[in-house]
Amino acid sequence: MTLPDNLSRRAMFVKLGILFNGIIATLLAIPILRYVLAPVRRARKVGYDTWLSIGSLEQFPAGQTRLGTFRNPDVHPWDGKTAYSACWVRRIDEHTFQVFAINCMHLGCPVRWFPQSGLFMCPCHGGVYYEDGARASGPPERGLFEYAYKIEEGKLYIKAGELPTPVSPDKPSALVDMSGKQSCA
């Protein structure tokens, strides 16, 4: 076996050694990157958004807007109270609801409902929304995020599980089950 003059046996071994380590590093990078990017990959699977019960219909009298709470689907035992989220439930009439995220669509602070003036107000930068979630004033560029909902066996379900951000898809198609008896979940 002949070698070029400038490549000694030892120098070649060094290069082979580096190549060997490079291959191992590439192989190890796959599980490491998969581990680090796990939250992104999981987001593309189903399960982040699930139908979640926020209680029986009696909790939400018609014509009023009340705070609802629900337990997120993708949680761990050590999440404590952060496993729960809140939402604003507006019952327009017997079968028509609007369920809003509590997060202001400016920067995500929790908006508060003022029934007297029929407004949601944000304590952070003064975003204000009307009772139907539409933007009234302040820095938000859009209305409140609205969850899809359905009524089943006297309970109100919303499709949730993910922190709504200003770029979350606007007003998902509301799936309303008016019969109240079918179970098609």
């Binding site: 997120n72 404590g80 952060t82 995500g108 602070c109 003036s117 029929g118 304590p123 009234a136 599980g161």
Partner: protein, 495 residues
Amino acid sequence: MRLMQQIGEWLDERLQLAATLRETAEHPVPRETASWFYVFGSAALVVFVMQIITGILLAVTYVPSAGEAWNSLQTLNHSIAFGWYIRALHGWGSNFMVAIVLIHMVQVFLFGAFKYPRELTWIVGIFLLLMTLGMAFSGQVLRFDQDAFWGIGIGASISSRIPIVGPWIVYLLLGGPIIAGSTLSRFFALHVFVIPGMLIAFIGLHLLMVLKLGINEWPMPGRIVRKSAYIKEYHELTKKDGIPFVPGAVYKDIFFAGCVLLTLAIVAAYFGPFGPSGRPDPTIIQTAPRPDYFFLWLYALLSLLPPQAETPALLIGPVIAILFLLLLPFLFGEGEKSWRRRPIAVLTILLVAVVLGTFTDLAGHPPWSPVMDAWSGDPIPQQFLQNRSALERQGALIFQLKQCHNCHALGDEGGKRGPALDNVALLLTPDQLIRQVIQGGGNMPAYGKNLSPPETTALVAFLKTLHPAGQPPARNASRTIAAEPVANPPTSTNR
């Protein structure tokens, strides 16, 4: 004494470090750099070491779990001897750290120390500043209270606006679909392992370059930096007019670092630890999150920017600012160092300081946030109610009940989101008042759906009384003209 010397000699025979250390300590520095202006870098280092010590002490008790972190802070605050003080030292230490790093940066900038051959020292310094701010933010997250919880939400909202990859970055930041245990674990790893590790490495690099290239000489007006001649000139300066760093200059560093530590110890003892504020329960929404003080200017900026400009400013602004700082030594790598000959540099610093100071000050009493309990907590001052008719007082009641007071001040009480209404009757005629109340506009919600006609009448009747005594309220001039008998009536009418 002899034993100590023997141990020392035994160690050095094996370590072989004494000569190097002595040489490093006694390296010559220009005489004028033994100055009180040159102490901020070493002070930042001392506070950083302090942060490492107190950080390790906190880690002994702190539990990085979303369910338990807040409780472990309560334990630190109340159940462990001086746990509160270690927390206070670490919290105030982070404020000191940010402040001293900024002062150090301003001094280095004004003294032209970023110019040839210290460009890389400056660039590494910029990364150190970013990491320091990263530590400040992630540290605020570890104080897992309501402010921290909603603070991450704000971080997520900002990140989500990045085009295309925004949602993915939110998932990476939160470690999942919501702010929960995975989020806290991520920030714990960042705050305790990743960023401190990088900080230590970069500080080492920064210090190595200061030693190798020598400390920046005192800038003299007219002493121009030229790449061809600078190194030779600097060595002549240190040879001709240099003093050994130890003890010639170091005593000022030591003294200043001592003063900083003493101030930190006193401030921490007097003011105590930061929070934690309320429990991080997402279903408790009676909260008004505020960032820690070094991000208050950002909080102010985010509410003062026009909405359309916000996303570009948030995403492009920092990139431009950091790029400019990184490119600075390449754009202005030669020439004058003295601030006396660099008016634009001085003005830039003044401008940035005034802007940041103003924003921070504004954020201390934010005029853009509605006062959420003014409608029930801040009564209308008496002078606006005396000698008013029943209808007008009913209007005042509507003013409170419909939360107008949350955004509009009367007699300096209430919100400042909208204009104060003390003199509103001077500015708007009754018709304009009705229109404004019902239709809103100019950043005010429309109240048409939530005010009955009698309520509107009463409210406007009250608003009409809001003018100083002796000054007549605004009136529609055309009405007056229309009401006056016309001398020459139009010849044709439509009737």
